[in-house]
């Protein structure tokens, strides 16, 4: 339902024109009254955190139901506001964040916001809302330059009253300081002071837009660290990894160090350089892996990593302690498993990551650039951010095996605080077939490489002919063939021997005969082949030809021996020969054969 329809209340039911008017002025809210405003200004860190509890009332007999109310900001403070959040405190103790929109009010300087109420406030009704505001760089160091031994004092200038477009009936302001060491403070209404707390008020019946300068000068040695600029690069890979890299420029924005920096004092006296920053903690996501912390000149060795259940805590120590005005620069990076942050439904993907992550407690980021590198081929990119960000034109990024570049979303935002650590969702579509592109590229590259090598090796690119080398190669080729053939032939005898053995056991003459037959035929083939190769060698004019003929001769002797032994075996089986004589003959044969084979081997080796 639209807010307008909710506004129809019994008292004005009949007046349609009024209703229309209300619709028109629903945002410009009728005259409300602040019954009570309790404001706490927390100045204990380098931020000014203002939280106010407001008791808003639509006075009875007021102009009508209020769908929204106005919040105002003092004119000087507006550029310093980093965060504004309004919540309503319901009876059920649950807190609802309200929608806040910036508006303008005519004739008034400063900044104004309209806060939409969950339900319109009818005249006579009340509502309690709590407002939280964070301001950066409002605490000014005074003196602006201090030596190493001195403590840091800052001045805060604010308003004694809660700045509001509505009259306030009663209001109090409580100022929380960083220490009890207060140099001076404004004493409007005789504020009470206890420890590190100042309490102003209660002030009664304050008209709208009241201003009165509140000024506190006090000691504040909390780390005045500011991230002057930061670039956060998130690179998404569909192979299961998200790489995050943050480049951080850090500066100590407290009172500037004047005079020397003495390492001796810094090491020996505990309160020397009390406002300097030695180290801080950065909390990384629990799944962070392969964390690195480095700068232009290498790894920064002074850091510690602590892996906790729900986070990875990194104690970061810059290379040197940061005194007022000193700055440093570093890069921190880590990998995350993508299943925790990347969701998909078919080709639809959604990346849910923090827009900015924790760097140190109470962090202030003056300027942030976020770059989200999506996989090559991601399309229809759409970003859902929890707060307003400035999108710059998308870029292309080329890295490993990319051909047409990965889309990069670039976004900027200035003046951010811890409250901005929220998720941003990037929706995009990605065709899964594209995943194959990279492996195929690698395969193709290797294919081309091997193919070139093959072509280079197989083809002759020389521009001159070397007949001698060619002949040599031919001969080598033929001899190689001869070698294999001779070895094959020797193998044949072994096969035949096996056949003879089998025959001896089984006494089956057919095995022997068939063995003999195969031996004969194959031997013939091989021998003739060798002979043809021999003749080829001859035509090449190689002297190896003689050696081959020698092999042939030796081989025929071997064959004879083999056949002889088979005949003997036949006779043995037939009982025509005694066993002893057979064994003796066999020994003789085998010795002879051994010799012949050795000779052949030697010739082969010589080849």
């Amino acid at each position: 339902a639209s807010p307008g329809s909710d506004m129809i209340s019994p008292t004005m039911a009949g007046l349609a024109w009024r209703l229309l008017l209300c619709l028109g002025c629903a945002l410009a809210a009728p005259d409300l009254v602040l019954e009570e405003a309790k404001r706490t200004v927390d100045l204990s860190t380098h931020l000014a955190k203002v939280s106010a509890e407001l008791n808003l009332a639509n006075p009875p007999g007021g102009a009508g139901p209020a769908g929204a109310f106005l919040l105002a900001l003092e004119p000087g403070l507006e550029p310093r506001l980093a965060y504004l959040g309004v919540q309503v405190k319901g009876e059920e103790e649950e807190e609802n964040t309200l929608e806040v929109r910036e508006t303008k009010v005519k004739g008034k300087s400063g900044k104004f916001f309209t806060v939409k109420l969950p339900s319109p406030l009818v005249p006579g009704a009340k509502i309690r809302v709590s407002v939280e505001m964070v301001f950066t760089h409002v605490l000014q160091p005074y003196p602006t330059h201090i030596t190493q031994a001195e403590k840091q004092f800052v001045v805060f200038e604010g308003n004694h009253y809660f700045y509001s477009p509505y009259p306030t009936k009663t209001q109090t302001t409580r100022v929380k300081l960083a220490s009890r060491n207060i140099e001076s403070y404004t004493k409007l209404g005789n504020p009470s002071r206890s420890e590190d707390m100042l309490e102003y008020g209660p002030f009664k019946d304050i008209p709208p837009y009241s201003q009165d300068t509140l000024k506190v000068h006090y000691e504040n040695n909390s780390p005045f660290l500011t991230i002057t600029s930061m670039t956060r690069v998130i690179e998404v890979s569909h192979w299961g990894n998200i790489a995050v890299e943050e480049t951080v420029d850090l500066k100590h924005t407290g009172a500037v160090l004047k005079g020397p920096f003495s390492r001796y004092d810094y090491q020996r006296q505990p309160d020397s350089g009390i406002s300097s920053v030695k180290s801080f903690k950065t909390i990384l996501p629990a799944a962070a892996q392969d964390v690195y912390y480095r700068d232009e000149i290498g790894n920064i060795s002074t850091s510690h990593l602590l892996i906790l259940d729900d986070s990875v805590e990194m104690e970061i120590r810059p290379r040197f302690p940061l005194f007022g005005g000193w700055k440093t620069h570093y890069i921190i990076g880590y990998n995350l498993p993508s299943y925790e942050y990347l969701y998909n439904l078919g080709d639809q993907y959604a990346l849910k990551m923090r827009f900015v992550d924790h760097v140190f407690d109470e962090q202030v980021t003056d300027s942030l650039t976020v770059k989200i590198i999506l996989p090559e081929g991601a399309k229809n990119i759409h970003v859902d951010s929890p707060y307003e960000i400035n999108r710059a034109a998308d870029e292309l990024h080329y890295t490993y095996l990319d051909t047409f570049g990965r889309p990069v979303i670039v976004a900027h935002k200035n003046n951010m605080v811890e409250q901005h650590i929220q998720d941003v969702v990037v929706h995009y579509t990605f065709n899964k077939i594209l995943m194959l592109q990279e492996p195929l590229l690698v395969v193709g590259a290797f294919y081309i490489l091997f193919f070139t090598v093959i072509i280079y090796v197989r083809l002759d690119f020389s521009i001159t002919k070397d007949p001698a080398a060619e002949a040599r190669m031919k001969v080598a080729c033929i001899t190689e063939q001869v070698l294999t053939l001779v070895n094959k032939r020797l193998g044949l005898y072994r096969h035949f021997d096996e056949a003879v053995n089998k025959y001896k056991q089984s006494r089956d003459i057919s095995t022997l005969n068939s063995g003999k037959k195969t031996l004969e035929t194959e031997h013939k083939v091989l021998t003739s082949e060798i002979a043809s190769l021999q003749s080829k060698l001859k035509t090449e004019g190689s002297d190896l030809c003689d050696k081959v003929s020698e092999i042939q001769k030796l081989d025929s002797q071997v064959k004879e021996l083999v056949l002889k032994s088979s005949v003997e075996a036949e006779r043995l089986v037939a009982g025509k020969l005694k066993k002893d004589t057979y064994i003796e003959n066999e020994k003789l044969h085998s010795n002879k054969r051994q010799e012949l084979v050795t000779k052949i081997d030697n010739i082969l080796d010589a080849l």
């Binding site: 290379r319 000193w326 490993y400 193998g491």
Partner: protein, 740 residues
């Protein structure tokens, strides 16, 4: 019966398989006994041999690459030491601004106020190589940072060196020796010392270029083909662009030709090779801006020209001899010789009077560098281990079976040994030739003993595996012994690499009793402080050792750096360091110094600090300003250099002393020693009450290793303690303005 005929062909195959796998195993062992066994007959020699060679070379490359990674694994991917920082910075400039910008680069951050024309004063080969690799990788969208390219360049090139050493040795001896040589050069400490990951220096690529040039030279002398000679010239060109050591090539090759002539080994091949090489090589080498006209001007290139002329004359005489009668020839010969002698004599006189005797003028600076000291015997063994013992044997083998290319390697060995003896640094040029000759020696030994084994095994009289062992116990013992030596060599190489040559020296590490490691990162802490928290144009004065590091890491202007070309400037800085504060302040004012950086090791006991180098500063300053600085002032009357109370007052009040020990007198390091006890020099300092008038401490690193002082601007003029005299003469308008 069947048992006998069976094994025949089977054994035949098995033998070869064994030989192959054995050779493979040797290759894997790193020491690489290589292919001693390869020369035995193989059934398919070409295929196996090339596969084996390929595998062994690949493994040698891998072993060489990985043993250079100690520093990266222990610390990080970081540029080491001093000179590499400059090379890195220039490469970075090249990668980010392009080649022409690099050639025209005027570096205003060095040698303030003079600056340095970098493009014209460096050997650009290293930067161009790294830049080219980076460019190609980025063209292929492989986003590697230029720093990583620089860090890993030397290890990658060590593999190329191994391959070119293999090629060269193969030309000289045989393939087996080549493989051994490749394995040696891959892991030998003498070469690793200059080519660990992070040591991004000229030598890393120059040794490859050296070996490859020599290979191509040997090849061209062997073939006499212009093609190979042109390749040789191109490789020589690369070498000239990479390292000043190219002078070694341009002297060794002429020497080779000259000796060949003397040995009556003149041939048409040598003539073609040398004539082509000299002319093309000369022209190519003159294309490097830094070399320019040196090859035709300076004395170290004259030998090449002389040999060229000699070779032409010799060839001409050879030609004439065929045409003339003996009598005519003799008169012509004598005439020619006397003329040549006259010319040589005159040119030598000319050169003596005009030549640049650089070393003479700058001796203190050159002598102050530790790597310019003469080599000790220990370091020969430390860097080369067993190779230093075996390479004479290889040399002997070469000389015994002499041919053209072995003359070359013999000359290479002899000259390299001489140079290595003169300077520790030149150990680097000795290492490759030692590897090659040792490989030849080892290969010969293996061929003899393992080869015998094979022959005796081949007659397979009886099946007798145990008989083999009985037959040649001597062979086996020798082989085992050699393998043991190689193994010990490999172990030694790894140990030396790990312990001596793998420290980045930018990052220091100390070990606790329980083995945990403390990293002392003071250098980078201070440099980074300078980079972040000083004015961009601040000028930092330091001793020249740290110039390149300050420029590279802190990105600030320096007065002097490791490119010690201007002695008087360095002497001025030395003078400032060794003067008292007031005098130093004047020098620093005149040099526009904003910060002074010194290295002080007294807190942690770091011995390479500025106080220990201080005498060199004094000496160099004395060389230029003998009236103001005298070395003897810094010694005690007994002639000792002491920092304690007995030290000379000049020392105790000089700027360097004061900056080193400022507020150190209050510091008590432990309870056994008094406050102000210097751990490096084991003495309680003599001057504990140090006050500065013109300086103030700007930064001191965590372990006090680096201390930076700020030079204060001049104070405002003191206010007058009496009123200015009042006159009733009204000054003119102009003067009034001036007075203001």
């Amino acid at each position: 019966m069947a048992e006998h005929s069976g094994p025949d062909s089977g054994k035949h195959k098995a033998n070869h398989a064994n030989a192959n796998s054995a050779a493979l195993l040797h290759g894997r062992a790193g020491a690489g006994t290589g292919a001693g066994g390869l020369s035995g007959g193989l059934s398919q020699p070409a295929g196996w041999q090339s596969l084996l060679s390929f595998t062994i070379l690949f493994l040698a490359w891998l072993a060489g690459f990985s043993s250079r990674l100690f520093a990266v694994i222990r610390f990080e991917s970081i540029i080491h030491e001093f000179d590499p920082w400059f090379n890195y910075r220039s490469t970075h400039h090249l990668a980010s601004h392009g080649f022409y910008e690099f050639l025209n680069w005027f570096d205003e951050r060095a040698w303030y106020p003079l600056g340095r024309i970098v493009g014209g004063t460096v050997y650009p080969g290293l930067m161009v190589t790294a830049g080219l690799i980076h460019w190609i990788l980025n063209m292929l969208n492989i986003t590697v940072h230029i720093r990583d390219v620089c860090v890993f360049l030397a290890p990658v090139f060590s593999g190329l060196t191994a391959i070119s050493t293999f090629l060269l040795t193969r030309e000289l001896w045989n393939q087996g020796a080549g493989l051994l040589a490749a394995c040696f050069i891959a892991i030998v400490p003498g070469y690793i010392s200059r080519s660990v990951a992070g040591s991004f220096d000229n030598e890393g690529i120059a040794i490859f270029a050296l070996q490859f040039t020599y290979y191509l030279w040997v090849k061209s002398v062997k073939t006499g083909s212009v093609f190979w000679t042109i390749c040789c010239c191109l490789s020589y060109f690369y070498m000239v662009s990479a390292w000043g050591g190219y002078v070694f090539i341009i002297n060794l090759i002429p020497l080779h030709v000259f000796v060949l002539l003397l040995m009556q080994r003149y041939s048409r091949r040598v003539y073609i090779a040398y004539s082509t090489f000299y002319i093309v090589g000369l022209i190519l080498s003159m294309q490097i801006p830094f070399v320019g006209f040196q090859p035709i001007r300076t004395s170290e290139h004259m030998a090449a020209a002389g040999v060229f002329a000699l070779l032409q004359a010799y060839a001409f005489l050879q030609y004439l001899r065929d045409r003339l009668t003996k009598q005519e020839f003799q008169t012509l010969f004598f005439l020619g010789v006397s003329l040549a002698a006259g010319i040589v004599f005159l040119s030598v006189i000319y050169l003596t009077y005009t030549g640049e005797w650089y070393a003479k003028i700058h001796i203190p600076i050159i002598a102050s560098v530790s790597e310019h000291q003469p080599t000790t015997w220990v370091s020969f063994f430390f860097d080369l281990h067993i190779l230093v013992c075996t390479f004479p044997a290889g040399l002997w083998f070469c000389i015994k079976n002499i041919n053209d290319e072995r003359v070359f390697v013999a000359l290479y060995a002899i000259s390299a040994v001489y140079f290595a003896g003169v300077m520790v640094r030149l150990m680097l040029t000795l290492t490759p030739v030692v590897c090659m000759l040792s490989a030849i020696a080892f290969s010969n030994v293996f061929e003899h003993y393992l080869g015998d084994d094979m022959k005796r095994e081949n007659p397979p009289v009886e099946d007798s595996s145990d008989e083999d062992d009985k037959r040649n116990p001597g062979n086996l013992i020798v082989t085992m012994l050699m393998l043991m030596l190689l193994m010990m060599f490999a172990v030694h190489c790894t140990w030396v690499t790990s312990n001596a040559y793998s420290s980045p020296s930018v990052v220091l590490a100390s070990y606790n009793h329980d083995g945990t490691r403390n990293i002392l990162d003071d250098f980078r802490e201070a440099y980074y402080w300078l980079r972040q928290n000083t004015d961009e144009h601040a000028r930092v004065m330091s001793w020249w050792d740290y110039g390149y590091q300050i420029a590279g890491m802190a990105n600030r202007t320096t007065l002097v750096d490791n490119n010690t070309w201007n002695n008087s400037h360095i002497a001025l800085v030395g003078k400032a360091m060794s003067s008292n504060e007031t005098a130093a302040y004047e020098i620093m004012r005149s040099l526009d110094v904003d910060y002074v950086l010194i290295i002080f090791g007294g807190v942690i006991g770091y011995s390479g600090d500025d106080i220990n180098k201080f005498l060199w500063m004094v000496r160099i300053a004395e060389g230029e300003h003998p009236k103001d600085i005298r070395e003897s002032d810094y010694f005690t009357p007994q002639g000792e250099f002491r920092v304690d109370k007995a030290g000379s007052p000049t020392l105790l009040n000089c700027l360097m002393y004061k900056m080193s020990y400022y507020r150190f007198g209050e510091m008590q390091l432990d309870f056994r020693t008094p406050p102000g006890f210097d751990r490096t020099r084991n003495a309680e300092i003599g001057n504990k009450d140090i006050k500065f008038k013109h300086l103030e401490e700007a930064f001191t690193s965590e372990h006090w290793l680096v201390r930076i002082y700020k030079v204060k601007k001049l104070d405002n003029r003191e206010t007058l303690d009496h009123k200015p005299r009042v006159t009733n003469i009204v000054p003119k308008q102009k003067t009034a303005v001036l007075d203001l």
